[in-house]
């Protein structure tokens, strides 16, 4: 295997190069061929990444003579990029399979979808600043185009515009960060990562780079407080695109954070570097999870949960950064391993959930939770897959979500070894917030499944829902199977991340991660998912056996008891569907207990006067604190500034001339002063 490390890289580079060609094929009208091609290429990508990771091959690099004049593009494949590429290619395969099912609604996305995947692959393969930025920005633009698919709806346009604005801010920060990182030597500027590693930044330059990376890549990952674009954009995009954006694109952004902060900034950074990531991650996790209990659109719920999970992963990355700086490689490996494990787990189950939400949209015609219900009867495969995804989302053992969060908590619990009472207390509070987020996510998962997929249908359309086609079912089943496997064998995922860990924190999980077992310390105790699964299976079998032997068999069907309420009237064959709990009512206790403080949630009951026949209305409003505290002030300042600047347009001719003259003089003075220095 090790004889030809370049084979894997060449193959993956070819995949990344051929994908945009498929975009052209699709643009020429051959939509199905393009999707088939994308399916094959992404499948090939999975094989190549798996081959690289299984063989534990040495890192390889490749120079492509296109791009900047004289420099070309430098690509490289190492453990870290292969780990994220594997996730990307898996989700890409599932997205292409889903798209095969329906070339009516999804056809409009066909030219950009392969380009989007190719751009993400380029970002992951990049080994110089130029190709990284090129891939990252192409990824932003392609996904912007994909979000705009249903551009005739005004909310979609608004969401896409917000997304583009955030992407522009991200680009405006990531490019200067790259510029500060590169080193201008006597032989000119060398953009290659190898040269950057040789001259790690320090002092104020390093701090500015940290801030720029957090804004630049963090805004794309959905790190608080720059997560506001995520729920509307993910809800607006077609579902297989949302699956890619949520499952893969946020992870690519996290990869950029890891690549820049761990790899390119060198190992000499102070301990506090991890703190911003931990704090922003924990805060974002709680915000996202709480909003997931309040949103009424199933895809917005999933997007908010993405904000939560990205927060959890970022907190893990932050702890790893701090632990590496404090020279605690075992802790750093645990935290980083946990972050990578959860990134893989989340990528898989969130893609699954988005594909399932797309199936619900396809089969029942709406994303609004309060117009769905009872899908378990009409869409059994979709509901089954959604149950697997929701179990992961709620972090129930023995799913992959539990394995990821268990390791993250273990890392946090080991965190106080970093020392310093302030830092210890901070880690304790971060762990507390993460636990709150995890519990909120469990409530959100129950709300999502309980309201949208269980209960009685709330609309005739939902009552007549139909199952999606076989290709879409296959994609969901595949992702569900992968999620279950990742949950049962988290040690395998961690050994796939071994090269990435060695590269970022200098130590692998070693014997702390094996096939059957993961452990925070080098001892026998820990979490053994297969053992828990077997125990659970034995218990269920035992209970079923005893009940079968001791209890009366069979059952009768009757009307729901519902505390003795009468049978529904004939004109409402399913009973009045409004009498069941909906999304708003399920989230009401949490909205009152936490939402009032955190989201500024307000409720207003519009009660008709006695004698009036109109219906009473309940108006519920809530606002993300990032919008209220960060974006609205910025928008106000921008408005005030532009109003000030506007006044310059309406000056008299004399004043305009004197202003121009004054600026000219000022400019000359500055030049003189600069030359004097």
């Amino acid at each position: 295997m090790n004889t030809a490390p370049g084979v894997w890289l060449s193959g993956l580079a070819a995949v990344a190069a051929l994908l945009p060609v498929l975009g052209l094929v699709a643009a020429a009208g051959r939509v199905r061929s393009a999707y088939w091609g994308m399916l094959l290429l992404c499948g090939l990508g999975v094989v190549l990444c798996a081959g690289f990771l299984i063989g534990d091959s040495a890192a390889a690099s490749l120079s492509v003579p296109i791009g900047l004049p004289g420099a070309g593009i430098l690509l490289a494949l190492d453990g870290l990029s292969a780990f994220f590429l594997l996730l990307l290619m898996l989700i890409g395969t599932a997205a292409a399979t889903t798209a095969l099912d329906d070339d009516g609604g999804y056809a409009a996305t066909s030219p950009l979808l392969p380009v989007f995947v190719a751009a993400m692959a380029t970002t992951l393969l990049a080994a110089d600043g130029f190709s990284l930025v090129l891939g990252f920005e192409t990824m932003s633009l392609a996904s912007f185009g994909l979000v705009l698919t249903n551009h005739r709806e005004p909310p979609v346009r608004a969401a896409a515009l917000l997304y583009l604005g955030m992407a522009a801010i991200g680009g405006a920060c990531l490019i200067p960060a790259m510029a500060l990182l590169v080193h201008a030597g006597p032989a000119g500027v060398d953009l290659g990562f190898a040269a950057i590693r040789g001259h790690a930044p320090h002092g104020w330059r390093a701090i500015v780079i940290l801030a720029l990376v957090l804004v630049g890549a963090g805004s794309k990952a959905g790190l608080a407080p720059l997560h506001v674009w995520l729920p509307p954009a993910h809800a607006a995009a077609p579902s297989h695109v949302s699956a890619l954006m949520s499952g893969a694109m946020t992870k690519v952004a996290l990869y950029v954070i890891i690549r820049l902060l761990f790899d390119l900034c060198g190992t000499g950074q102070p301990v506090w570097w991890g703190v911003p990531l931990m704090v922003l991650g924990a805060v974002g996790a709680v915000l996202g999870a709480l909003r997931a209990n309040i949103e009424s659109d199933i895809k917005a719920v999933l997007a908010c949960s993405t904000v939560e999970n990205v927060g959890l992963i970022a907190a893990g990355i932050g702890l790893a950064l701090a632990a590496r700086a404090a020279d605690l490689p075992a802790l750093a490996a645990l935290a980083m391993g946990a972050a990578l494990l959860h990134a893989m787990a989340h990528g898989l189950f969130k893609a699954l959930l988005f594909l399932g939400a797309g199936a619900a949209l396809h089969g029942a015609g709406t994303r609004a939770m309060d117009r769905l219900g009872g899908l378990i009867q009409r869409m059994p495969v979709t509901t089954g897959c959604m149950l697997v995804g929701a179990a992961c989302l709620a972090a129930l053992p023995p799913t992959s979500g539990f394995a990821g969060e268990w390791s993250l908590f273990q890392a946090m619990i080991a965190g106080p070894r970093l020392g310093g009472v302030v830092l210890q207390m901070l880690i304790c509070v971060v762990a507390l917030l993460m636990a709150l987020a995890a519990a909120l996510a469990a409530a959100a998962a129950v709300r999502l499944i309980g309201v949208a997929f269980l209960g009685r249908p709330r609309t005739p359309r939902a009552a007549a829902a139909h199952e999606v086609g076989y290709a879409a079912q296959l994609a969901m089943l595949g992702l569900a199977l992968l999620s279950l496997l990742a949950g049962l064998f988290p040690g395998v995922v961690l050994s796939a991340a071994a090269a990435a860990l060695r590269q970022t924190v200098g130590l692998t999980m070693g014997d702390r991660a094996s096939l059957l077992h993961i452990s925070p310390q080098t001892s026998t105790t820990g979490y053994s998912a297969p053992a828990i699964a077997i125990l659970l299976g034995l218990a269920i079998a035992g209970v079923a056996w005893v009940v079968r032997r001791r209890a009366v068999a069979g059952h009768r069907r009757g009307p729901a008891w519902d505390c003795g309420f009468g049978a529904p009237p004939a004109w409402l064959p399913f009973g009045d569907p409004i009498t069941q709990y909906g999304g708003g009512s399920f989230g009401q206790p949490l909205r009152r207990a936490l939402g009032v403080v955190i989201l500024g949630a307000t409720e207003r009951v519009d009660m008709p006067e006695p004698g009036q026949t109109r219906a009473a209305r309940l108006v519920v409003r809530s606002k993300d604190p990032a919008t209220a505290l960060l974006f609205q002030p910025v928008i106000r300042w921008r408005g005030a500034l532009s109003a000030q600047a506007d006044r310059l347009q309406f000056l008299t001719i004399q004043r305009t001339l004197s202003l121009i003259f004054a600026v000219l003089v000022l400019f000359l003075i500055v030049i003189v002063l600069v030359e004097q220095l």
């Binding site: 908590f409 762990a431 519990a439 409530a443 209890a551 009757g558 519902d562 069941q580």
Partner: protein, 319 residues
């Protein structure tokens, strides 16, 4: 050989937990009745109730899905797994390496989530109200529980329940403020997690005040039997957990001399009995609180848990 003895201890432990759970409920009901001036039913009444339920044929709502019918068994199995991981009379049983506190909390969450989903399955208002409130209480209980786990893990160097209990049984850590605070926090969490007064009233007959009972309102016969048995088992699990962590004295060793298990079992019975009587007295002397006051009640646990960790950092200079 020792592995076989550990396995025997494990089997005995599971059998004991299963056998004692209904008795615990009966005991608490009996003590509460006495405190209220009634004679009350025999402590063995819960066993008879379970038998009666098993003799009936369940009635499912017309639109009940497979999830509704499967949920009680899964929920009970998850509670049983968690109960198997919490040592009662002996440490070092077969499942000792698996008995991670976060895993136990996860299994209990699994049990709760499955029932909450089943509560939503029929599409009645009561099922929804119960599921929503049950999940809301958990949102406040789980962070507090994590803080307690945090404290214990800092003291014992592991989140493994068996390791923690072994260390605390040696008594080398001594009395600590953090442990005391954690114990109060755990008791508060246990009251909420088991739906006892003042958080929820397991004996209520007024639908609007129900939480857990509302969630499982549509269940009958064998399904209901499994749910009630699961509730009893969960209460026993929590009392055992409190006893094992905070009063680990008298526990035997699974690898040790089997007759010593008898003293361990007696100590366990005494601990659980005292806690059960204490719970009955506490429940008789307090009123149920409004649903929206419960987050405040659990906020106390959260604060105590946080204080416990901070005390540990400040007193120990933990590094």
């Amino acid at each position: 050989m020792s592995a076989i003895i550990a396995l025997i201890a494990q089997a005995l432990h599971i059998a004991l937990m299963l056998a004692a759970a209904p008795l615990l409920i009966g005991l608490i009901r009996r003590v509460k009745s006495r405190l209220l001036g009634r004679t009350g039913p025999s402590p063995l009444q819960p066993y008879r109730d379970l038998q009666r339920l098993l003799r009936k044929q369940p009635v499912l709502a017309g639109n009940a899905s497979w999830l509704f019918a499967a949920a009680p068994a899964v929920s009970f199995a998850a509670t049983l797994c968690a109960a198997a991981l919490v040592p009662s009379f002996a440490l070092g049983m077969t499942t000792a390496p698996l008995s991670d506190l976060i895993v136990i909390a996860g299994l209990l969450t699994l049990s709760r989530v499955v029932l909450a989903l089943a509560g939503m399955d029929i599409g009645t208002a009561f099922g929804g109200i119960g599921a929503s409130r049950e999940m809301t209480f958990a949102v406040f209980a789980e962070p507090a529980l994590l803080l307690v786990i945090f404290t214990l893990a800092l003291l014992a160097g592991s989140t493994n329940l068996d390791a923690i209990a072994t260390l605390l049984r040696e008594g080398s850590l001594g009395l600590r403020v953090s442990l005391g605070l954690s114990m109060v926090a755990v008791v508060t969490i246990a009251i909420a997690e088991n739906g006892r007064i003042p958080v929820d009233n397991p004996a209520t007959h007024l639908e609007l005040t129900m939480v857990h009972e509302a969630m499982v309102l549509e269940y009958s016969a064998r399904h209901l039997a499994l749910i009630e048995y699961g509730v009893a088992l969960r209460l026993l699990l929590w009392l055992t957990l409190i006893g094992t962590v905070f009063v680990p004295f008298g526990m035997g060793d699974a690898a040790g001399f089997p007759p010593l298990w008898i003293t361990g079992a007696l100590a366990w019975a005494a601990k659980v009995g005292v806690l059960a009587v204490g719970l009955a007295v506490f429940e008789s002397s307090i009123a149920k609180m409004r649903v929206f006051r419960v987050p405040e009640f659990l906020g106390i646990a959260l604060l105590l848990g946080l204080l416990a960790v901070i005390f540990l950092f400040v007193s120990q200079g933990f590094a």
